[in-house]
C-alpha cells in the first residue's frame, strides 16, 4: 500500500463525509461568502484607484467603484440580453467538459489537475484532424457530417491519451498524479506551441496558429446571436455528456467500482476492483472529456488553434468542486462560473474594473468549498447563540 494513497484517502475524507444536503449548503454559503469578500475587494480597490468623481461615499471615504453597481453590471453582462446569455452559455458549455474531467477521477480518489493540458492538446488534435480530413472530403452538409465527429473524436483521442499518461505513471511507477498532471499542463502548452510553430503553422497570417478549420466543420451559432460563438445543439450535447457521466457513476458496474475505489481504496480492492483499471479508465475518460471540450473550443469558438487559450481547465476544477463533484451539480455550478466569466468581461468593459476580479472570486470559492469545517464551526456558533437552529453535528 503506497503511503501516497493513504494520505489522499485521508484528504478526501472530510469532503466525502458530508451529506448531499450539507454539501449544497456549503456551496451556497461559499458563493455568498466569496461575493461578500468580493465587495470588500471592490471597495478596497475603489479606495485606492484614482478617479475624477467617486461612485460612492461612505463615511467621508471616496470609493471609485460601487459594489452593488459592479454586481448589477456583472449580472447584466451575463444575462442581460440574447448576446450576453449566449456568451455565458458558451463558457458554461465548455466548463462542463473540463469540470467533468476533474469530477470523474475525483470520484475514483484521484486529483486530475491536468484538464488544462488535456484541453489544449485535445483542441490542437481536433484542429489538425479536421484540417487533414477536410482535404479528402467535400464541403457542405456531407463534410459537416464527417468533419464534426472527426474533430470530436480527434480531440477525445488526443486528450484521452494525455490523461492516460499520468494514469499510467501512477499505476506503473506509483507517481503522484497531482504532481504529474500539474507538470503535464506546462508540457502540453510547450509541445502544442512547438508543434504548431514547426509543423502546422498558418503561413498566411502572423502568429502561432493553425489554419482556419473549413467552414463545414464550424459549429455555427443557432438560435442565438450570430457573433456569440455559441451553438445550442452543442450545449444540449454537453448536457448529454454530463447525464452520461451521471449514469456511468451511479448505474454502471464500472462507475460503482470507481466510486468504491475513491471512497475507500482498501475495501474496493477487497471487493475485487482492479485498481489499475479504475485509475487508467478514469484518467483516460477525464482526458477524453477535456479533449472534447478542447475540440468544441476550436469548432465552436475560435475556428482554429491559437496560442494563449483561456484557463478553462483550472476553472473546471472550481466548477467541479463547487458542485461537490457531482455531475448533477455541474450545470448550476458551471452556469455560475460561465456567468462570472461573461460578467467579468462586462465589468472590465463598462466599469473599467479588471476582469481579474473574477479570478479572485474563483479562487475564493474553491478555497471556501474545500473548507466545510469553517461553515460547520460558524453554524455551531450561531446555533449556540440561538440565531439559527440547524443540525450542525457532523456524522463522525
Amino acid at each position: 500500500m503506497s503511503p501516497l494513497k493513504e494520505r489522499f484517502e485521508g484528504l478526501l475524507g472530510t469532503i466525502v463525509r458530508l451529506s448531499t444536503g450539507q454539501r449544497i449548503l456549503v456551496s451556497i454559503a461559499a458563493v455568498i461568502f466569496a461575493i461578500g469578500v468580493g465587495v470588500l475587494v471592490i471597495l478596497a480597490a475603489g479606495s485606492v484607484a484614482s478617479c475624477g468623481s467617486p461612485a460612492l461615499y461612505i463615511m467621508g471615504v471616496e470609493f471609485c467603484y460601487n459594489p452593488l453597481e459592479v454586481w448589477l453590471v456583472m449580472f447584466d453582462g451575463s444575462f442581460g440580453g440574447n448576446f450576453e446569455i449566449s456568451r455565458t452559455l458558451r463558457w458554461t458549455t465548455l466548463l462542463l467538459f473540463t469540470a467533468l474531467s476533474f469530477a470523474i477521477p475525483y470520484k475514483a480518489g484521484l486529483f486530475n489537475i491536468g484538464a488544462q493540458g488535456q484541453f489544449v492538446l485535445g483542441s490542437l488534435g481536433a484542429a489538425v484532424g479536421v484540417i487533414w480530413v477536410a482535404t479528402v472530403v467535400p464541403g457542405g452538409a456531407v463534410g459537416r457530417i464527417v468533419l464534426v465527429p472527426t474533430g470530436l473524436l480527434a480531440g477525445a483521442a488526443v486528450g484521452g491519451l494525455y490523461g492516460f499518461l499520468p494514469g499510467y505513471l501512477k499505476v506503473r511507477f506509483e507517481m503522484n498524479e497531482v504532481v504529474t498532471t500539474l507538470l503535464f499542463n506546462f508540457i502540453a502548452t510547450a509541445v502544442a506551441f512547438v508543434l504548431v510553430d514547426r509543423y502546422f503553422v498558418d503561413e498566411s497570417i502572423q502568429g502561432t496558429q493553425t489554419e482556419a478549420i473549413p467552414e463545414a466543420a464550424e459549429l455555427n451559432p443557432q438560435f442565438f446571436a450570430n457573433s456569440a460563438d455559441f451553438s445550442l445543439p452543442v450545449f444540449v450535447f454537453a448536457l448529454g455528456i454530463v447525464a452520461a457521466a451521471y449514469w456511468l457513476l451511479t448505474r454502471t458496474t464500472v462507475g460503482y467500482e470507481l466510486r468504491a475505489m475513491g471512497s475507500q481504496q482498501k475495501a474496493a480492492i477487497f471487493g475485487g476492483v482492479d485498481e489499475r483499471f479504475t485509475t487508467l479508465f478514469s484518467m483516460t475518460t477525464a482526458g477524453a472529456v477535456a479533449g472534447i471540450g478542447g475540440a468544441l473550443y476550436v469548432l465552436m469558438v475560435l475556428g482554429r488553434w491559437q496560442t494563449g487559450p483561456p484557463p478553462l481547465g483550472f476553472d473546471g476544477i472550481a466548477v467541479s468542486i463547487l458542485a461537490g463533484n457531482n455531475p448533477l451539480g455541474l450545470f448550476p455550478s458551471g452556469l455560475l462560473f460561465g456567468a462570472l466569466q461573461s460578467g467579468g468581461q462586462a465589468i472590465q468593459f463598462q466599469l473599467g474594473i479588471p476582469s481579474e476580479l473574477v479570478g479572485v472570486l474563483r479562487g475564493l470559492i474553491i478555497l471556501l468549498v474545500a473548507t466545510p469545517e469553517l461553515f460547520r464551526m460558524m453554524g455551531k456558533r450561531l446555533n449556540r447563540r440561538g440565531v439559527i437552529d440547524i443540525e450542525t453535528e457532523g456524522s463522525n
Binding site: A260, S263, K266, F270, G271, G272
Partner: protein, 516 residues
C-alpha cells in the same frame, strides 16, 4: 507504601454522546505494577489518556502524589512524571534513536541554535546500562531499521529519559513474542525495584496474573473492582471482564473431513518493505474442517492471508483451490472460484463506510450475472439481496439505506459475514472474525462458522485469540516467523505448549492427526 495516583470520579463523554468512562475511582500505589484489565472498548485506554493529558475528563479529578493536577497537554503530565508507552509506538520512523528519545526534551544550546546531542547520548548510554536495555549501539540508527522488540525498549528509554516515575503501558505485548514479553516483564521488575510505578493495560488474563501486584477490571466504561494479583484466578477475572461466565469451549460436531479444498505449498510472501514474512508454508484445508492459524500478531499471518485471497503477490510457491492453481489469478477470479474472505480490518477492508448497506451488499459481486443488467448494476436485485442479508444475519438497524459507518461493530461484522456466506462459498478465509465485536455477535459468528463447516465448507481461520482458535479449529498451525512451528491437534495440546510454539520452540507432542 504511598499512593502515586488517585483518580476520583473520572467521567469522559465524547462528542456524539459516547460515554467512555463513567465515575471511575482508582488508587495506584507507588512502586507497584497495577494492571488495568478489560475487553476492547472497556475504557482502559481512554482512562489512561486522561491521566496522560491527551484527553480532558468531563468530570472528576486526578491527583498525583496527593496533589490535584489538571493536565491540559501530555507535556504537563510528563512534567509531573507520567509517561505512556502506546500500543502503536510513537516513534518517528526515519529519525534516529537519539532524535526520538530526545524529541520534545532536547537540551538546547546557544539559545536554541543547536542541540547538545552529546549530553543526550551520554544519558541514553547511562540509562541503557542501568536497566540493561542494550541499545547503546543503535543510538544513531533510524528506528525503522530496528526490530519491534528494540523499538519498544526505545519507547521505555524515551519515557525514562523524560524523567517519568509513573509508566503507563498500553497493551505492550500484542506485538511481542511470549519471550519478548517476558523480557518486558523483567524490565517491569527493574523499574519497580527503582521505585517506579507501572500501570499495565491489557486484556490478556495470564499476563495480568503474571505481573500484577493489583488488578483493576473495567467493563463498559465502569470499574468492576480491584483485587490483589495473588488472590484471584483467571476464571474470576474473566467473569468480571465480560460480566458472566464465558463458554470457552464451543459444542461442535465431530469433524467430517472431505477432499482437500485449499492447498498451499512452499509459499513465500514479502511485505511492503520487501521483507520476507512468509517462508515456505505448506498447508491444506479440507472440506468440512476448520484449519486454525495461531501465532503472535506480525508473524506472517496477514501476508499469508493476503496471498491466499489475492490481495498480495507471493514470491514463491503454489496456491490451489480444488486442485486448480490460482496463484496468478486476480482477486476477482479467486472470488469467482468460491472463495469468501472475512477480513480482520472490517472497517478498512470489508465495508465502504460511506456507502449504504445496499451498495455494500454488492461489493465483491458487482460483476456477477445475478446483479447485472448489461453494463448496469441491477439495483433492484441488490436491494432484495440486502434485505435477505439483514434478515438472515440479524443486522440491526434493519435499514438497507443506513450508512455502513453508522452500524455498531458487531452489526457491521454480521453484515459482512452474511454477505460473504450468502455467496455460497466452498472456501472461507476468516481472519480475526470476532475482533472488537460484542460477545453476542461473537457467539453468533462462531455458530455460523461451525455451521458452514458442517455443511462441508473448507474454513481457514486466523486469529490472535488462542481461545478462539483452539475452540473452533479441527487442526491448528502455529505460525512463527513466517513458518509453521508445528501443526497440532487442539485436543491434544496445552495452552502452554501452544505458547512455546508461538515463541518458535519445538515441543514434544503427538503429531497432528489427519492428512497434511
Amino acid at each position: 507504601m504511598s499512593v502515586a495516583v488517585h483518580l476520583d470520579g473520572i467521567t469522559k463523554r465524547f462528542p456524539g454522546g459516547v460515554l467512555a468512562n463513567d465515575q471511575i475511582d482508582l488508587e495506584i500505589e507507588q512502586g507497584s505494577v497495577h494492571v488495568l484489565l478489560g475487553e476492547n472498548g472497556a475504557g482502559k485506554s481512554t482512562l489512561m489518556n486522561i491521566l496522560y493529558g491527551l484527553y480532558e475528563p468531563t468530570e472528576g479529578t486526578v491527583r498525583i502524589d496527593g496533589e490535584t493536577v489538571d493536565f491540559e497537554t501530555p507535556q504537563d503530565a510528563i512534567e509531573r512524571g507520567v509517561g505512556m508507552i502506546h500500543q502503536h509506538f510513537t516513534l518517528v520512523d526515519p529519525m534516529t534513536v537519539l532524535e526520538n528519545i530526545a524529541l520534545g526534551w532536547e537540551p538546547i544550546r546557544y539559545g536554541g541554535l543547536a542541540i547538545d546531542d552529546g549530553a543526550v547520548e551520554a544519558d541514553i548510554r547511562e540509562l541503557s546500562d542501568r536497566y540493561g536495555f542494550g541499545i547503546a549501539d543503535d543510538i544513531h540508527t533510524p528506528v525503522e531499521e530496528l526490530s519491534v522488540g528494540v523499538q519498544q525498549r526505545i519507547e521505555v528509554v524515551k519515557t525514562l529519559y523524560r524523567g517519568a516515575d509513573i509508566f503507563i503501558f498500553d497493551e505492550p505485548t500484542s506485538v511481542l513474542t511470549p519471550q519478548e514479553a517476558d523480557q518486558l516483564f523483567e524490565v517491569f521488575e527493574e523499574l519497580t525495584a527503582q521505585g517506579k510505578t507501572i500501570i499495565f493495560i491489557t486484556h490478556k488474563l495470564d499476563e495480568a496474573l503474571t505481573v500484577a501486584d493489583r488488578i483493576t477490571v473495567l467493563r463498559d466504561g465502569r470499574k468492576v473492582g480491584t483485587v490483589d494479583g495473588a488472590g484471584t484466578t483467571q476464571d474470576e477475572l474473566a467473569r468480571q471482564m465480560v460480566g458472566r461466565d464465558v463458554l470457552l469451549n464451543v459444542d461442535k460436531e465431530p469433524v467430517n473431513r472431505g477432499d482437500p479444498q485449499l492447498s498451499v505449498s512452499d509459499l513465500s510472501v514479502t511485505n511492503d518493505q520487501g521483507i520476507q514474512k512468509v517462508s515456505g508454508v505448506d498447508l491444506t484445508v479440507h472440506r468440512g474442517e476448520i484449519f486454525g492459524v495461531a501465532g503472535v500478531d506480525g508473524n506472517g499471518q496477514s501476508e499469508l492471508v493476503e496471498a491466499i485471497t489475492g490481495l498480495r503477490e507471493h514470491t514463491a510457491g503454489d496456491i490451489s483451490i480444488d486442485g486448480r492453481e490460482i496463484g496468478d489469478l486476480s482477486r476477482r477470479e479467486r472470488m469467482a472460484l468460491g472463495m469468501s474472505y472475512i477480513p480482520g480490518e472490517r472497517q478498512e477492508r470489508a465495508l465502504v463506510l460511506d456507502f449504504d448497506l445496499v451498495q455494500n451488499a454488492v461489493l465483491g459481486s458487482q460483476r456477477d450475472d445475478q446483479f447485472r443488467d448489461g453494463r448496469q448494476i441491477d439495483w433492484d436485485a441488490v436491494r432484495e439481496h440486502t434485505e435477505e442479508i439483514i434478515e438472515t444475519y440479524d443486522v440491526r438497524p434493519p435499514n438497507p439505506q443506513a450508512l455502513a459507518r453508522s452500524l455498531s461493530g458487531g452489526n457491521q461484522q454480521k453484515f459482512v459475514v452474511g454477505r460473504e456466506f450468502l455467496r455460497e462459498p466452498d472456501l472461507v478465509v476468516a481472519a480475526h472474525p470476532t475482533r472488537g465485536v460484542d460477545v453476542g455477535s461473537m457467539e453468533f459468528i462462531h455458530d455460523q462458522l461451525l455451521e458452514m463447516r458442517d455443511r462441508g465448507v473448507a474454513i481457514l481461520l486466523v486469529s490472535a485469540s488462542l481461545d478462539e482458535v483452539t475452540s473452533l479449529s479441527d487442526r491448528i498451525g502455529v505460525l512463527h516467523d513466517g513458518a509453521f512451528a508445528d501443526v497440532v491437534d487442539p485436543e491434544s495440546v496445552s495452552k502452554e505448549q501452544l505458547g512455546l510454539l508461538m515463541a518458535g520452540e519445538q515441543i514434544e507432542t503427538e503429531r497432528a492427526v489427519g492428512p497434511q
